[in-house]
Symmetry: C2
């Protein structure tokens, strides 16, 4: 009594302990190259900052409607039109406290206790913990380079149960940075719709995709009614550099919005008001031009780091096309990536994330590098790795 | 498949539909006296606003630790010392996105699926919906004027089950504004501790208590180890006038903090950063002096409205001592308080909240008045009520 088993089933982020150790070392005067952090190192663009300050100064700090400011829902709707050439009614857009709030609403309205949710391993660890938190069951499906670390229709068919109520995919994916091919997305979405279940698509790294064409899962023109069973999650954290503001959104089928509104009223009342007003400036020309420069910088970092890691002896079988992560096989150096990550931290001051934060599928031979620091610092990290490993 | 029964079990706030209708009437040019809104009408005090703006300008908009900024946890610890003369380690303070986030963490770590949680009816509706959201069961206990609309040890003993894992009380309470007597609190806390369960005390209206002495449930000196089974929830929304910033906190027994940290990492990452920096200015002398003036204004409104409502014929058996609500029996005018609320809105432009938003215990003969508007407006509302009802 008085202690929830759901808590025991939820793993902490191992990287948090590693980060704490990195900070201890820094406090002792050691220089640490941070390649473990999943947060853009760029400041929030000035127009967003200014809009936030203007709103606070004007006293716009009261509760908004639970589904968010109407103007922001409309701005997001317009953004889908401008960027993806797809028409999404602003009524389908619900503003949330981060993508976390979006996933909470999505799972909260579609998942019964005990239902199964399918997701890829490796994958973002919060996703499976959310399912557990809401008393669902996750079925983690091991994915590898052969499918670009993404789920496929074949995976779904092999793992489908009568009580499977949702599938979560991410494109680009964390930790692999890989995209989901559109034909596979369509095939999965059609199958999921046939089963009367839902496809949740995490698009929080949209905007940070390099060299290749990509699209939102809301834009499956030729199969318009798939939308009825697709929920897209997004966030102002990554592309828009607004992490600490805690703002995201969900685009849901119209039939779910009323329930999401009711749930939002109860579980978080509304997303933070200063962040919502600030985000009204997120889509203007000046902001987008700043963000595109940040994106270009991320691309340059990826193009720098990726070949260097390969030269060092890390095996990277699938080119990461987006986000700011490289998921690298480290078995040439260690069969215990957790110990390996601590070795690198203690011996050469290089911080990376061990594979086990993303699941259990070959996690011991993988690590994640984040290029959320400057090329100079990445180069310093590579130099240290080279001296130490080779 | 694909639709959660938890959603069907969660009631929307009826007042939201009423508020929407009130706004329609306003758009048509009607004048509405708002006595339905549970949000202070005062602006966020200037020092808090300035601290928020300074932080945003300085680029302090990145993720904070999941449990919140260390300085803010320390400031809250100091506040307990200053205001209540009780020593609370800052390690026990976890910063959350509003009191909603605090309740989510509290229930998340202590409640198993299927556990029962005891709470008072009438009471704040989100509380029971949170329990349902996390797959627990609520046992609503009808309370009345004889216990000041608060739970008692006798209630707990009569309703306790082997799977009762928590009791939620609120002092001051929403909708009744009544306080929990300290001797009853101690008796309940001791009993709950014996059962190995938890007492969750909602203190979000602390600071807004008029004329009487009161204390935090963390200050049961003579029974210090009760703290091991008490979780206190608080918020910057009400007393501190920071609703839209979305910031609250929980004070938990030290043994639960690690699990709350883990859960916070997963379900909301951290509370909004601008709000956390802003709140660092919430406890300084200048801010407190502003807040105490707001409190005095609330007290004057209560002292104005309470006798007027009685004169009109509403029955108010227990003097509300805090918050900004008066829970009034309206059976002299109607046995259907929901219809009554709409009648008042449509016919005389007075908006109040029907009892059924707070439970089902005699809800049809109660309404809640909120004095979150000026005395002039309250007087206008009283005048209209008098003309219409008498």
């Amino acid at each position: 009594m008085g202690c929830s088993s759901r808590i025991n089933d939820i793993q902490p982020f191992h990287v948090m302990a590693l980060l704490a150790r990195a900070k201890e070392l820094e406090a002792e005067g050691k220089d640490i190259v941070h390649m473990e952090i999943g947060e853009p190192d760029f400041p929030t663009p000035a127009p967003i900052v200014e809009a936030g300050i203007a709103a606070i100064s004007a006293g716009d700090v009261h509760y908004t409607p639970a589904v968010g400011l109407t103007e922001l829902r409309e701005a997001i709707s317009t953004f889908y039109q401008t960027r993806y050439n797809v028409s999404i009614s602003s009524n389908r857009v619900v503003i949330t406290p981060g993508a976390s709030g979006a996933l909470m609403l999505a799972l909260g309205v579609i998942m019964q206790e005990g239902d199964e949710v399918l997701l890829a391993d490796p994958g973002y660890p919060c996703n499976r913990n959310f399912v557990r938190f809401l008393s669902g069951k996750t079925r983690s499906i091991s994915v590898d380079a052969s499918t670009g670390y993404q789920l496929t229709l074949k995976h779904l068919k092999e793992n489908w149960k009568p009580n499977t109520s949702a599938v979560i995919v991410a494109s680009p994916s964390n930790p692999t940075g890989t995209l989901l091919a559109k034909d596979e997305l369509v095939a999965m979405a059609l199958f999921i719709k046939e089963q009367g279940a839902y496809l949740i698509v995490d698009e929080i790294y949209h905007g940070l995709v390099y060299d290749v064409e990509y699209d939102t899962a809301l834009n499956l023109y030729e199969h318009r009614d798939i939308d009825e069973n697709i929920i897209v999650i997004n966030s102002f954290s990554k592309y828009f550099n607004m992490t600490g503001w805690r703002l995201g959104w969900v685009v849901a089928p119209e039939k779910l919005v009323k329930d999401m509104d009711k749930l939002a009223q109860n579980i978080f009342l509304a997303a933070p008001t200063p962040a919502q007003y600030a985000a009204l400036a997120a889509f203007n020309e000046e902001t987008i031009s700043i963000l595109e420069k940040h994106k270009e910088e991320f691309k340059q970092r990826r193009d720098f780091l990726l070949p260097k890691l390969k030269e060092l002896g890390f095996k990277i079988e699938v080119e990461p096309q987006g986000a700011f992560y490289i998921y690298a096989n480290c078995e040439k150096f260690s069969k215990d990536s957790y110990k390996f990550a601590y070795d690198l931290l203690e011996n050469i001051g290089v911080a990376i994330t061990p594979g086990k934060d993303f699941g259990s599928n070959k996690a011991d031979t993988f690590v994640r590098f984040a290029y959320t620091t400057s090329i100079d610092r990445l180069a310093e990290g590579v130099k240290r790795l080279n001296n130490y490993l080779n």
